[in-house]
Symmetry: D3
Subunit: 280 residues, 6 copies
């Protein structure tokens, strides 16, 4: 919901503004109007223009806003992503937060799109992870979707994912899945992380709804996929660990349903975007 944006945006602006924009307060007399454009300095996938609009509107609800691209659209260097007009002071006060968000979201969407293009035709989908910048998950995950990826869990509460550290505590996958089936909320799926055939068979036998196969080479992965398809063909399979743009297609071609990529959100390269202003 837009509401969670509101709170985040208020928090981000408060972080940057503190007691207020001392420079603008000192050098802008008050009523001056300005026009500005957000300009792409390189090719990218657009994401988050509506978020950026909300940032500017937070400081000035009357700001005029003309987006030039749709969410997920492809943009070339030099393109104007959006134009805005209104009182200069709030535009200047919101500029940095707006750019910081937009550059990150476009950066994520652009990177995701490269992975999605790399696996095109295999039927495999690119998943994100919870390795997002703290406080920015909703924005990071939206950018993955804008780039054509699919979202994995938004948090620890909208899915059960039993990993190695859980098994270190709970004992067997069998026992862990049984406990989860007994007490977890009724509509959550149970996914189990496995690294080898024995674990995979145990997890499938115990009734897991999905499997995460971690840290395998494409060849090892293909063998495990074959085993899983024989046992329970309807169970979705996800691969993770050591997968990057150069080898992602090899992983996708093993027949897994999903490949998850932490770097999409933990190691973001900001897209190059600037805001240019002149008096209205």
């Amino acid at each position: 919901m837009a509401d969670s944006w509101e709170k985040s945006i208020a928090f981000f602006l408060a972080e940057d503004l503190g007691r207020g924009d001392a420079t603008t307060r000192a050098v802008v007399c008050g009523g001056e109007k300005g026009r500005a454009a957000l300009i792409a300095r390189e090719a990218m996938i657009v994401c988050g223009l509506d978020v950026v609009r909300a940032v500017f509107a937070f400081l000035d609800p009357d700001v005029e806003w003309k987006p030039r691209f749709d969410e997920g659209g492809r943009v070339s260097a030099g393109d104007r992503l959006a134009e805005l007009a209104g009182r200069a002071a709030p535009i200047l006060g919101a500029e940095r937060v707006a750019l910081n968000l937009l550059q990150r979201m476009c950066g994520i969407a652009t990177a995701t799109r490269r992975y999605v293009d790399a696996v095109e035709g295999t039927g495999c989908r690119i998943l994100d992870t919870r390795k997002t910048a703290p406080g920015l998950r909703v924005f990071d995950k939206r950018a993955v979707a804008a780039g054509g990826g699919k979202n994995h869990r938004f948090g620890l509460d909208d899915g059960i994912l039993i990993k190695d550290n859980h098994l270190a505590v709970a004992g067997s996958a069998c026992e862990a899945v049984a406990r989860a089936k007994r007490s977890a909320s009724a509509l959550l799926k149970i996914e189990v992380e496995v690294e080898n055939e024995r674990q995979l068979q145990e997890a499938l036998a115990s009734g897991a709804d999905a499997l995460l196969i971690d840290n395998r080479t494409p060849a090892e992965l293909a063998a495990l996929v074959a085993v899983a398809r024989r046992m329970r063909p309807e169970v979705p399979l996800e691969a993770s660990g050591g997968i990057h743009l150069e080898n992602v297609r090899a992983y996708a071609e093993t027949g897994v349903d999903f490949v998850s990529i932490g770097a999409l959100t933990h190691s973001v390269v900001a897209a190059d975007i600037s805001l240019e202003m002149d008096l209205a």
Copy 2:
């Protein structure tokens, strides 16, 4: 103050936990104890172990915590950054937020250290910018300091920086600086962004306390530095724009006091760290 950490950490944990850690709640019986270690998977500069401790302590104030390195220390692949012990459930619940923060902070500190090493001996210092991930500025800036960099403004309120967009509104630098000297709070310095000799001379003449020289080649920059030193030798000079690890020393050798690098915080590569757990 630690207080601002508290609120941020609460926010980050809430983002990840939502209604709670469904997996741990389902598969951990309650009282199990565990031991865990944070392990560096590559060489890095350490930053933020006390923040990570606060993350774990937020969910379990009784967690035991043994850090193995000081802030800013150099770490090798395989080193244990810290060890912790306590109830397994809150450790599992906090793991992802802790890692997301730590990997980002160590990533920033490590990158900063590379820049600082590159300009060693020139007397020039590496500055950060406000191009941080929204909501993470205090952590991003601490990581820069841990890597040997110096912090520029923490927000729009602890310094006056008159940039091109301000001049588009206020008219001349002369007028903008005069306004700032009249009305700004008494202990804030006034820095002016300039791109050429005419702007530089105007800014110095109008009484600016510092200059930011943007988007010049090292040679152009050196010439401007010479002009500035002749006019007002006590005014600190900062360079920015198009500076990266390969050319930063050339910029530093122009005699500027500071070089500011946006990529330190807007394009972070997460340091590779994992948490490994076993039963206590």
Copy 3:
């Protein structure tokens, strides 16, 4: 996590205390100590003693607390549920909020247990709904679990449940399920509400993960269960609508996996509990 309790408890106490407990402030001198007991005035299932402890501890972290029963335990009229001791003023200030919460939770747990007992041996489990008192869901749902019931969704985000109003907008169940499979987060199950055989067959064919069969008599329900088991025996079936303590066993004996009962939480009868105090 305990954290969400904290906020709720703070909110509940603030609601009752306003500017403070005027009576206690006026008539209690300050340091008087007191002992108190929470006493059951009728037979009940206990639930929420740890929540109540947190209420008292919120106003006085040093309060002594001795619970006498475990969560879910059966209690007779006259039993002491817990004893507490400490400064009299905060105990008096927290008394009403503590009782209001405890009486509601015990009331829900007691009613749930009656339903669970009524279906004993059928294999059918009693589910709750989202028909909880606004702001009290986490407490209401915990009470259902304490009474032996199982929790359905905690909110609109931890499961997909496509109901008649959604179909009025989305068109066919087939289309709605397809959309959900494409874009929903990876680990959420998709349940579809149906009222007749045609809808049931369409929902099963479209790949729903679970079915909610609403407003059928036990005989009609049994017929639909038979159809569903033939088509996709692994799909869990839930019945709802017009089910009460007198007819719940008939519904359970149709072979459905779950029966959900809104009245468990929307029409609660408070358990009769009082707090009695004397000077320490």
Copy 4:
């Protein structure tokens, strides 16, 4: 003030929505419009339609809203309480919270009206208590007023009510009332709970502004009323304890000014109301 509604409604919606309405997000494309009606499934007293409007308006300020009954109005089974129209997604997202609130408020108003009708002509008024669902007091108390009841204290700060537990600490009623007269805020009345003639006389003699007579039979109560009226006829008298719909008139006819009924708010039966939707 409406403001406190806003915060509560935001809290209630956040509780239900969590990270957002996963079902609607998945199956509704975005712009679809819908019409809906809130329909009474049984006879009831209406209360809280403006609250419900605020719930829907919180998610969509542009929702159209046509209430069909006034606060406190009598409604028959099948009546449409209100109609609404607007974007389908926010209506679906707010539906459950709206119904949970409305069904509770109408349930309380309906029950209160039964008590008010039962004492009609006696001059005795029905009072509520602080035995409300935590977090819902403002709504619960409004529903009592809509049903014709009068509100007792909204919290511990808008009145002094000295009960048995206070006397256990403060000693005599005489001393407690004296303390309250000395230090309490200037415009708060002082009510004292009594159970027998000795206590009643002491409380009246010490200057109490009102009396609460607890746990007496109608005959015992009548005798105490006579004593009180002789001593200080202007002091209002309230009866409580063991009073229900069947015996409330007998209590009212003793001549007390008020009868207070905890069950009005601690044991609510939700009124049966549904929301039906179709495409606009």
Copy 5:
């Protein structure tokens, strides 16, 4: 409750600290310990030492604190109000907020005591008003009590006070009081502001619980008091308007029960207190 202090103190410290105490962070190495004393520079009534302790404890829960005077005690110039010891950094960070609060509270208590002394023996009590500094009411009112005054309403919700502006809307006092008796919460008294005999008689006749007689000379006031005592001797009378230290005794001697003084809190002279520090 202490809780409302907590929030206010957090707010006050956040106001002063912003992103943190830049000076202390820069010049204090971290672990230095210090001792400090709060020293009265003039004679005063002490108030709020426990509040000040909470301010210091907010930044350092381990600070040692030794108060030297009780609430309401008389202090001479040069007296040490309290001593504290602990880490120097948080003491320096909290110093200004602590002094700002303490100087205000002691200033109010000292001024109140002068008024209380001036009316000694008349039986008349000094009341405060709602003319407090926004956000500081709980502290301002506590200081009045520490100086021997009595508190009037804490807000618009703990008493009914019908003033001229209300009568301009509601029409007659008679109608206004009747409405208040019908719908206001059960334990709130109804006070009516009057300026002449006609208004006074109307207010008493309509059943007001207390009267506020505004803007009369002592002689006029005495005449009105006589009328009121004849009509309803039990009704408390309060005088306000144009009353200061020089004429307050004349007002008190008219026989009114209360005199209220807005200047106690709207025009405060800070008591002169300093904090002196040395290394431990």
Copy 6:
């Protein structure tokens, strides 16, 4: 930014309203409209009318508002500062908070103007301090500016001011300034408090950006000013301690750039303003 007003105003109104304006709720039927005027009862400098507007608008966004004076304007007794019209209930509910704020701000602006007038022609400017009422700094400081004063730091984070208590911990001014230059944020000036010539020389030699000379007579101050101007003529000098309206000109004529006056904000005399209302 207006945003920080919003939160403060919400807090101030909540403090006064509590559970709501019981009087207005009881005696105003709901829809009555009213007109009101804010009237100056004495001569004053106006400050904060836009803040007051925001207070009324918080409770009723539709209130009509006509300010009659500009910020900083001079007003005579009897002048109408502003007129407003709208629903009577929210105007009555906001009246006290509005007046409390306005009377304080006008009181501060009026006092400041007296100081500013007293030093006219000397070139010396009047500074405020951090001795503001907790929670009201932004309003107190605005009032100083409206009266012609200049603002010193808004908090501990927008300037470095090394005072005696810091030196007690850090040792020499030399060491303290060196530390500050090394680690403080790039655009903060460093001011040092001195009391004698030795301290002054040390502070100037160590590179302080400004000096605060405390507790000197005008003659002593003049001598120190002469020393400072000889050493580093560009360093701004501020005097404080024991300065009041009668001697401020003597201090100003010593040649200092600034005189700071704590009493401007720690000992405010409220300007006399009333709100008068009649039915529209």
